[in-house]
Symmetry: C2
Subunit: 207 residues, 2 copies
DNA sequence: ACTAGTTTAGGACATTGACCAAATTTACAT
DNA sequence: ATGTAAATTTGGTCAATGTCCTAAACTAGT
């Protein structure tokens, strides 16, 4: 991706985050960038291509967080989730239009269902398994484990959608700690003594 | 609402559920109903009006469930949630476009933020409080209670959105039991012995 | 038969994403 | 400096969307 493409998708992300992907037209974006539509489509033939490139940047930054932060304890895990939340905030337009995108943008849909989803899920299963091994978490049955993983995924995907129901897109950041606390509490019932300590530490550092 | 309006919104709901609100045009809907667009706009001046009338039907059917099913025990509560889930499925188009609608449809936004949201939340707080009084649930601190309520709300609002990421709109029904089990497990750590019995019973009846 | 409500017919408008071709400008390598 | 390729502008077109309009025709109840 060259400099102009970077410039375009950077500004596009800003506008998309402000108003929502569906409500920023290509003409509007071009005007904002001080360029003609023809030039925009020179770099991104369709709007879907543009959004896809943004979604790839999001996926990559998420992958980076995952690879750079091995989860050794429950605090690590929660802290990693904080970074993931912050990253989600940076790309809020994607998370807020997820259903939309997955049904309409064939590039994103194919990519997500072909790679991202499985990787995410298996990564999460791995992390939780490790925390169980290292005695930070303890599940009384396999069911508990699987359902807490599901709950966790759902919350990660849609906390921003819920947040936007009460506050505008411009003020989502300040709701983040609430949802991080929520996530921490989700694991509370399954935490060992060691695990509880990590949760307390994480929650304590949130304010 | 007269017979023709009923006919229109009934068919509109079907099409919206199948394809998504944003992807069914007014012309398409009119053609499907064998009427002219002019006639459609005679009954519903704008698409927003049509969607709003559907959303009101949804809100009313939900309110009906709430008023007809007093929550005496945890089983009642979970069973009520099952009915609410089934109702959400009937109006899936609304839940799948929630963010969209709340930001664009001024009628829905005003109504939701003015009434629905508070009622829903206070109703839930009331139910949970009752279950605590009647010794089905026990929370070690107020925090746990509030955060479980938040988790529960988020899951109720967005389970369909999550479901549609793995299956098409046409096949959402069969994922419902999974999310109901998830909901039941959400309350498990806070259930008393009595409460656990109710959960077992509810989950047992799901399959 | 009159009237109000309903329905049709045939348009219009601005906006959207997308697509296109020709001309011009810019940057870089020879 | 010159030629070439990439980048950019200009000025459209296209179909589809939601919304809006008017005049005419049909239909039901009084």
């Amino acid at each position: 991706m060259n400099a102009t493409q970077e410039k375009i998708s950077k500004r596009a992300l800003e506008l998309f985050n402000l108003k929502g992907i569906e409500y920023v037209g290509m003409r509007e974006l071009a005007a904002d960038l001080g360029m003609r539509i023809g030039n925009l489509t020179y770099y991104f033939p369709t709007k879907d291509d543009l959004v896809f490139s943004i979604s790839q940047a999001y996926t990559e930054s998420n992958s980076k967080i995952h690879s750079e932060l091995p989860v050794k304890n429950l605090y690590d895990f929660l802290h990693k989730n904080k970074l993931l939340f912050e990253n989600g905030l940076k790309y809020q337009c994607l998370l807020l239009s997820m259903v939309h995108l997955m049904e309409q943008n064939t590039l994103i849909a194919a990519n997500y269902q072909g790679n991202v989803m499985q990787n995410r899920m298996s990564g999460l299963v791995y992390d939780i398994g490790l925390l169980e091994e290292n005695k930070y978490l303890k599940f009384s049955c396999e069911d508990d484990k699987l359902l807490i993983i599901s709950s966790n995924s759902l919350q990660s995907r849609f906390w921003l959608s819920e947040a936007v129901l009460t506050e505008s897109r411009q003020n989502l950041a300040r709701q983040m700690t609430h949802y991080l606390r929520m996530k921490a509490h989700l694991f509370r019932p399954y935490a060992t003594k060691k695990g509880l300590g990590d949760i307390e530490r994480f929650v304590g550092e949130l304010l």
